[in-house]
């Protein structure tokens, strides 16, 4: 059933978003609206904004809208906190028909007042949803007045669901973060402690890590060891105060560019903080990123300590990785993830493990990222943007993939196809970053590829009836 089987053609409007390395020019259509009825795996603007802001742990995250938007995002992320837990609650104005008819501003005002009184948060994020975009509640005005009343920041998030795609939600979240950073910066300027002299000459901000399963803690620890203080993380285990102090850093390092590129640009423009693209996914990327950050900060001692750390950690994990590689070499992987950075890093990481990538796609990858993917991919690899289950099925089956990397929605599809699966999404419960993460990743790949269950789905005598195979005999 697996290799070489032809399945249905994708719909014609999708052709331009699907490419194959070596057969065409190195570009894809991307960033376009999803095609109606194609069953895109993408979510909406609100989703993008919520993902990025959610790990601000001491904020009230209030969804101004109907109950659905809040319930589907209640504590579904694996971002860890070292302190506040408020971010794990989902607050909603639970708009009802009468609110839609008469407007939801009063209800929102009361909701903010009640929440501030109950939880005393330093900041409230008020997310806009589709309905709010249509009935025209003036979030800015409601938030402004609440802000004055409570003497804290109450910030509207322009995340009206239909006004773009998930990537626009990232931008909306970045605008909010920028607002917080700027207010912190202004305050320091007024107190006379701004300007480049107030900067910690070594401190960095780490952008595009959501501290899923403590990943940002792992990276923070590496930098601590080599003598580089991490000022704040966008956004993983972040507090309002730590974000306000972001302007103090000397350098931004950015992992998930899809969500953070815009913020990095703004920070460079307004505060002159340069940005370095990094990735802590896989051994090569982790070592390379530590080196580049150390080199950028230009301190010999730091570079030396970085080399020490890389050597020590690599030594620790390399025998294990080598052993996994021996077992897994020649297997075929398919990748379908949210953003381009992750896809690129995964292609490299599979390379380290001797696994061929036969298909790679993202929900919201950018043009440059697809170019990189075309460069990295081996001949014949299918590359696609904003795919649907039907295309994922087609290419996994045709290319004979042994393994899929994806999120919650992709997992059951892979399993039904008898394909192994790696969860690389926001609700994962074990870290996949850094040296530790590389071992976890290899271990997870091994676990899923070599599970005994596949013995019963492939090979051997078939138990069948009416044209369906119900699995294979055990002996």
């Amino acid at each position: 059933m697996r290799a070489g089987k032809e399945t249905g053609m994708p719909i014609a409007e999708r052709f331009e978003s699907i490419g194959r390395k070596g057969r065409q020019k190195k570009t894809l259509r991307c960033g376009a609206d999803s095609l109606a009825g194609s069953v895109s795996q993408r979510a909406c603007v609100y989703c993008g904004a919520r993902v990025v802001l959610n790990p601000v742990t001491d904020a009230v995250h209030l969804v101004h809208g109907p109950i659905g938007c809040a319930v589907y995002t209640w504590d579904i992320r694996g971002s860890l906190s070292s302190d506040a837990e408020l971010y794990r609650s989902s607050f909603s104005t639970d708009l009802k028909e009468r609110d839609v008819v008469f407007g939801g501003e009063e209800k929102l005002t009361r909701a903010i007042d009640q929440l501030v009184e109950k939880y005393h948060p330093p900041v409230v994020f008020v997310y806009s949803t589709c309905i709010v975009g249509v009935i025209g509640d003036d979030l800015e005005a409601v938030c402004k007045s609440a802000s004055r009343r409570h003497a804290i920041e109450v910030i509207p998030v322009e995340s009206t669901g239909f006004s773009g795609n998930k990537a626009d939600g990232y931008r909306a979240a970045c605008d909010v973060l920028m607002r917080v950073i700027a207010s912190g910066q202004r305050e320091r300027e007024e107190a006379g402690e701004s300007g480049s002299s107030s900067r910690d000459e070594l401190a960095i901000n780490y952008l595009g890590d959501f501290n899923l399963a403590g990943e940002a803690w792992i990276i923070r620890d590496y930098f601590r060891e080599i003598g580089i203080p991490v000022n704040t993380v966008f956004t993983g285990d972040s507090t309002y105060e730590s974000i306000r102090g972001a302007g103090r850093a000397r350098l931004n390092i950015m992992q998930c560019a899809g969500s953070m590129n815009y913020l990095a640009g703004k920070m460079e423009e307004q505060f002159g903080i340069p940005c370095l693209q990094v990735s802590f996914v896989g051994l090569t990327d982790t070592a390379d990123s530590l080196r580049r950050v150390a080199a950028f900060l230009g301190d010999e001692k730091i570079c030396w300590r970085a080399e020490e750390l890389i050597a020590r950690e690599s030594e620790k994990v390399k025998p294990l990785i080598r052993e996994y590689r021996r077992k897994m070499k020649g297997k075929k992987a398919a990748i379908y993830v949210g953003g381009g950075f992750k896809a690129i890093s995964l292609v490299r990481q599979f390379g380290e493990l001797g696994i061929d990538v036969v298909m790679v796609g993202t929900q919201t990858g950018r043009k440059e990222e697809y170019e990189t993917l075309f460069d990295l991919a081996s001949e014949g690899t299918v590359i696609l943007d904003d795919a649907n289950p039907s295309e994922l099925e087609k290419f996994m089956v045709e290319e004979g993939a042994d393994l899929l990397v994806g999120g919650v929605k992709e997992r059951p599809l892979a399993y039904k196809l008898g394909v192994a699966f790696i969860d690389h999404n926001h609700d994962r419960k074990h870290p996949l970053s850094g040296f530790t993460g590389a071992v976890n990743f290899a271990g997870e790949v091994y676990t899923t590829l070599f599970s005994p269950v596949w013995k019963f789905t492939r090979g051997g005598e078939v138990w069948e009836n009416g044209g369906y195979s119900y699995g294979r005999a055990s002996c």
Partner: protein, 472 residues
């Protein structure tokens, strides 16, 4: 009955219920070769797919008209039609459900008109397109579910000659329970049409080759012929009439309607079996008598342990009602019940249930007598507070209840939808005598685990005061 007084709430903290369209997706997954398209922004369909998929561990494909800014301003007609075109190209369904969202309803999309026009334009006049108005701000997912069943009937049902089958209409229960209800019907020798039936589609066996629409579901012809049934048994005692598919069949086609509780619990299962007996006139087969006897035996074995149970029950109205009954008949006190909704009918039903058991309850003077208190429009913040105030030591409901475990240390018996933090949500088995037996075991064992872990320590702390006063 006591009712928690709630002032008009402006904020919901950690919701117990979901929105209307997600409930409406499920019945379509229980109709043969059917697909659903949600008319709204892309996120609605993706979030709901994720939510459903993680519960059932099955691929759940749902189309979206992917409304963008342009569609919102100038109308989403073109998007909806294109969406239908593409869905048909990829999936070749035999029926399509079109659901609205907050967005589509507020911008005033007339899906009936667009749908009819679409079928005319594509020369598909006889194709069953089922529209369901499901604004997310309208009602909860439970009403969305019932309304979708009603609309499927309204579109397909035709005046049919009497065929001797009965209609069985079910709310959102697990595929395992659907299978059990079918087994009971078969054991009782009743010919039936079960709607919806996602026992195969949302808990599909591992097979190859893979099919984009899994096989199973209620056949379209069977649905068409439902007006020719002897009677409708609807597990919908909490349903408001406007959302009752059984009421629709009664009013339009004079099919006698019998509303009964879900067959979870001894009494509720008895009610179901007796209703079937009325249809067949035959005695109850021995196999069921034995299953009933085994349940009764289990109830006797566990009754003293169960008396320690003070539970908070939450989830969808029908399930919650059946679970409250099961608890009460076993001496487990439901101290609070919540659905997230107003629960007008449920409240009265629970009152009656409570009155039947209240007479025997001792007045221990601590105000913690026999429940249940219904908590209208409750969220997990209210439930948490109530659980603490009323000394709950057990929670029964969906995965949202993990919050009660985390914050208050109350163990959770997972029941209903969604189950996201454990595998097997689709296989949770609680219906019929056999299902009730294992459901009761889950309750009792959770209570036992709590009691047995640390009782030595607890008693030591409570009573042991050292040996210094003892005579040597």
């Amino acid at each position: 009955m006591e009712e928690q007084a709630v002032s008009y709430r402006s904020v919901n903290e950690n919701p117990c219920h979901m929105c209307m369209p997600i409930g409406a997706i499920l019945p379509f997954k229980g109709v043969e070769r059917s697909m659903v398209l949600i008319h709204g922004s892309q996120g609605c369909s993706t979030y709901m797919r994720r939510h459903i998929s993680e519960h059932f561990n099955e691929p759940v494909d749902v189309g979206s008209s992917s409304l963008n800014e342009k569609g919102t301003v100038y109308g989403g007609e073109a998007n909806l039609k294109q969406g239908l075109d593409n869905l048909i190209k990829i999936y070749h369904p035999s029926l399509i459900g079109v659901l609205t969202t907050c967005l589509a309803e507020t911008i005033g999309e007339d899906i009936d008109r667009i749908g009819q026009e679409y079928l005319r334009e594509r020369k598909m006049d006889n194709f069953p397109l089922v529209t369901v108005p499901t604004p997310g701000y309208g009602h909860s997912h439970s009403e969305g579910f019932s309304l979708a069943v009603k609309r499927i009937l309204a579109r397909l049902a035709r005046k049919s000659p009497s065929h001797g089958r009965i209609n069985v209409l079910v709310p959102n229960i697990s595929p395992a329970d659907l299978r059990e209800i079918k087994r009971l019907l078969e054991i009782m020798g009743v010919r039936y049409t079960l709607l919806p039936d996602f026992s195969e589609t949302l808990d599909a066996p591992f097979t190859s080759p893979y099919h984009k629409i899994p096989s199973g579901g209620t056949g379209l012809n069977s649905i068409r012929e439902m007006p020719g049934a002897i009677a409708t048994l609807q597990m919908g005692v909490t349903l408001e009439e406007g959302f009752s598919p059984g009421k629709y069949l009664e009013e339009e086609y004079r099919v006698p309607l019998f509303n009964l509780p879900l067959p979870i619990g001894l009494e509720n299962t008895d009610t179901f079996i007796r209703s079937l007996q009325k249809v067949t006139g035959a005695p109850v087969p021995e196999i069921l008598l034995k299953e009933r006897g085994r349940l009764l035996d289990a109830m006797v074995d566990a009754h003293k342990y169960n008396f320690a149970g003070r539970c908070i029950i939450f989830g969808e109205p029908e399930l919650v009602y059946a679970m409250a009954g099961t608890c009460l008949e076993n001496g487990v006190t439901p101290v609070a019940v919540a659905t997230g909704g107003k629960g007008a009918k449920l409240k009265t039903l629970l009152q009656t249930l409570r009155d039947r058991y209240a007479a025997d309850a001792p007045d221990t003077g601590n105000g913690k007598g026999v429940g249940p208190v219904f908590l209208p429009e409750a969220d997990f913040d209210i439930m948490r507070r109530t659980a603490r105030e009323r000394g709950a030591n057990l929670a029964i409901g969906h995965s949202g209840g993990k919050y009660l475990t985390e914050k208050e240390g109350i163990p959770l018996v997972r029941m209903g939808f969604p189950i996201h933090d454990r595998v097997g949500g689709q296989r949770i088995f609680s219906a019929g005598y056999a299902g009730t037996t294992v459901f009761l075991d889950r309750i009792t064992n959770t209570l036992l685990e709590r009691k047995l872990s640390g009782y030595r320590e607890r008693i030591y702390r409570q009573f042991y005061r050292g040996k210094k006063y003892d005579l040597v």
